[in-house]
Amino acid sequence: MLEQFLWIIGQGLLVALMAPLLQGVIKKTKARLQNRLGAPILQPYYDIVKYLQKDAVISDQASWLTRATPYLVFCVMLTAGLLVPTLWGQAPLGMAGDLIILVYLFAVARFMTALTALDAGSAFGGMGSSRDMALSAIAEPALFLAAVAVLITGGTSRLGDIMAITVRQDWNVLDPAYGLACLAMLIVVIAETGRIPVDNPDTHLELTMIHEGMLLEYSGRYLGLMVWAAQIKQLLILTLLIDLFFPWGVALTPGVSGLLAAGAVYLGKLLVLGIILALIETAYAKMRLFQVPRLLASSMLLSLLAIMVRIAK
């Protein structure tokens, strides 16, 4: 029982504390690729600490939603963090749910964020939520489909099980279905983390914002929580990619040394993925808003192909 408890605390802390580091690495890489020095890698931590210490200014038009949503979204993201295996081949709350509940938890956070963005009645919040909702109607099934393309081999929807199967079978990486699904997932990762070419996390142009537009009304600790939650989501989406496609190195049996080794491997994989994201973001420009659905549709098509290839075998 105590072990279970420690495990939950440990994974929660790991997810929450690693997320800003990943963000820092991505930002630093981008800055270097763009000929800039960039902020220190640890800057996202400083930012969050700064935000959390500040008082919040809230529109007098806003209801209790604006106050409640940041806590809710943050807790939802932490809970989601307990459903994704990181170092060990099982998630702390693995008995409670599978991939499907994970997708729904993301949906809850997204719904609350979008709803609250309408709360203060500012134009940018409204634009952000309408765009986010329009895109998520395609992004969510795309995420699900890409995951299913892998899960279908194991006949399970539990991430822990499919990881164990993948690692044990060590099946052929050159399997076309695997590559197709991985590419599909990568597109979803970009969309879900709000990065170029779908959204631009660094823009100051309020009219072009999607995710940032929904955060414009927040300040102080509320902003801190929302930013932190977004970073955790980014970490989780990348972890999902790792779990589904590159699980090798994860600890399958309990043991301190195994967990430590798995931790090092996990960190390494995250950093590599972060750098790849930064590369994509630097090489691409933001596409026209109405072409994003096409990109996501192509992700779904890739997933469908992967599933077909898998079934045909």
Partner: protein, 530 residues
């Protein structure tokens, strides 16, 4: 074209007005003034624009009650083929300060006529848009700052805002108010979109938040001091404004600065264009989130601004111009250093253009976005990069040469699509032509003095100066007062001519494309608002 035939052509041009013309006289070398009755204003202006193919260059309202007991309106039309300006002057009684509007026939007059209402209380009858322009709804309606009896020192009590923004209504139409305070560090402007979903139906831009009353505060200043005002109209076109003002003073004094000064002015003007165009091209990439373009653009711009500092002691080229010439000379060593730096910049610039113009998403975002048609550009008398990207061949360096441009080969860069991509390409090619012009200057520059003393100017002489700033032509209209001071100073910047065109290009595009369209015009707020 020799002087005689030009005179004949101008005379023929004015013939058709017959008895409507109360009097006519040549003002400066390139300008003829005709006085007409205010009732004939619409017809004379319409003939000049629609039949004689003149373009509205600027329009000035002037409080001349202490001179003649009247208010005066000056409509200036430029005839590019003739290299000549024709000013239509009309007098308005103090007791009846109204005149017939020409905006319905000549849309470009829209802002000018609203401006003389706000600042001088001269009302254009039949103007299609009766909202205030420069002074917003909280300014009392009976206070006219540019009248001579209005004291700039006294505070004006504000009234409750009359609400002058456009209101949108109807099912499915969302009103999106943006600004005047923006998320980024940019100048203030209030934009109101009427949109259905993300598609824009209509855009209303409310500007003039940075109206500082420069024209009022310049009145009474000695000409030498007013030059500092001119340099501070705009941050990034400081030199163009300074040159235009200096030329207005020199024209009034009938002085031609020494040739070396003229060449150096052209040199610095092109340097100003270079750092602006390259910086703007980089900044445009922020419109589609292409950070590589942004950072390289600002790197190259920084290099050029450091070059400015080396040559002139100022990154924005302030303090270079002096009435009658320049304040500083450039040594041969500095000129060769200039060429070396420009060579490096050009190589990097070519590479950057290659990256951007071969980027599929970048091209997709720019092409067909924010189209300004030739008809719209002509109707609104759009100038500068925006005009040349829509197939409107206006470049005042070619049509009314100033500084040393008459002796230099200035190629015209022109595209016809009128979209963001066309404006991008016009800028990119103008960078190359600017580099060519600078090389010509370095080869041809004569030795000699860089300054000549300005002779005394007769009180109430008026003259104009102009320059092609990086954003388009600027025109400074000046009337000198007693003891070499400013009596009336009217600044018409490129942004003032082009801002009315921006809202026309947005409908049909999606809201997130507006920043890109706006960046492609790259208009300045402060030199529009003054």
């Amino acid at each position: 074209m020799n002087q005689l035939s030009k005179k004949q052509l101008v005379a023929r041009l004015l013939q058709s007005f017959g008895k409507k013309m109360l009097s006519s006289r040549p003002v400066q070398e390139h300008e003829t003034e005709l006085v007409i009755d205010k009732a004939d204003l619409p017809e004379v202006c319409r003939t000049l624009v629609q039949e004689k193919k003149g373009r509205l260059f600027t329009m000035v309202g002037n409080d001349e009650r202490e001179l003649s007991g009247h208010f005066a309106l000056y409509y200036v039309f430029a005839f590019d083929q003739l290299q000549h300006l024709i000013t239509v002057k009309t007098l308005l009684e103090e007791a009846d300060p109204v005149f017939p509007s020409i905006s319905a026939q000549i849309p470009a007059a829209n802002w000018y006529e609203r401006e003389v209402k706000d600042l001088l209380g001269l009302r254009a009858l039949g103007h299609p848009d009766r909202r205030p322009l420069i002074l917003h709804g909280d300014w009392p309606e009976d206070q006219y700052p540019l009248r001579k009896d209005f004291s700039a020192a006294l505070p004006v009590s504000r009234q409750p805002d009359r609400g002058t923004s456009m209101q949108y209504s109807g099912r499915d139409v969302t009103e999106i108010p943006v600004g005047p305070i923006h998320a980024g560090i940019i100048e203030p402007g209030h934009f109101r979109f009427g949109a259905v979903g993300d598609t824009v139906l209509h855009l209303d831009a409310k500007l003039f938040y940075t109206h500082r009353g420069l024209e009022k505060s310049a009145e009474g200043l000695p000409l030498t001091k007013a030059l500092f005002t001119a340099e501070r109209i705009c941050g990034v076109c400081a030199l163009s404004h300074a040159v235009a003002f200096a030329q207005a003073v020199e024209a009034a004094a009938q002085l031609t600065p020494p040739p070396r000064a003229l060449y150096l002015r052209s040199l610095f003007l092109e340097l100003e264009r270079l750092y602006n165009h390259i910086g703007d091209l980089g900044n445009l990439c922020a419109g589609f989130g292409f950070a590589v373009g942004v950072s390289h653009g600002s790197r190259l711009r920084e290099q050029l601004q450091q070059l400015n500092e080396e040559l002139a002691g100022h990154r924005y080229l302030r303090g270079v111009i002096q009435l009658g010439g320049l304040r500083l000379d450039v040594t041969p060593a500095e000129l060769s250093r200039l060429l070396t730096v420009l060579e490096q910049v050009e190589a990097d610039f070519d590479e950057l253009m290659d990256i951007i113009l071969s980027h599929d998403i970048a091209l997709d975002r720019m092409a067909t976005t924010g189209v300004l048609s030739l008809q719209q550009a002509n109707d609104l008398e759009v100038v500068g990069v925006a005009a040349r990207a829509s197939g409107r061949a206006v470049d005042i360096r070619r049509s009314h040469p100033y500084a040393a441009y008459g002796q230099l080969d200035v190629p015209l860069v022109q595209y016809t699509q009128g979209d963001v991509l066309a404006r991008f390409k016009v800028r990119a090619e103008e960078v190359k032509t600017s580099l060519q012009i600078i090389r010509q200057i370095v080869c041809q520059i004569p030795a000699g003095a860089i300054w000549a003393p300005v002779p005394e100017i007769q009180p109430y002489t008026r003259a104009m100066g102009w320059a092609e700033s990086p954003r388009g032509e600027v025109c400074h209209w000046l009337m000198v007062g007693p003891e070499q001071t400013v009596f009336r100073y009217r600044i018409r910047s490129a942004a003032y001519s082009n801002w009315p065109a921006v809202p026309l290009t947005v409908p049909g595009n999606i809201v997130p494309d507006f920043p890109l369209i706006n960046k492609s015009f790259e208009l300045c707020y402060s030199c529009c608002d003054r």
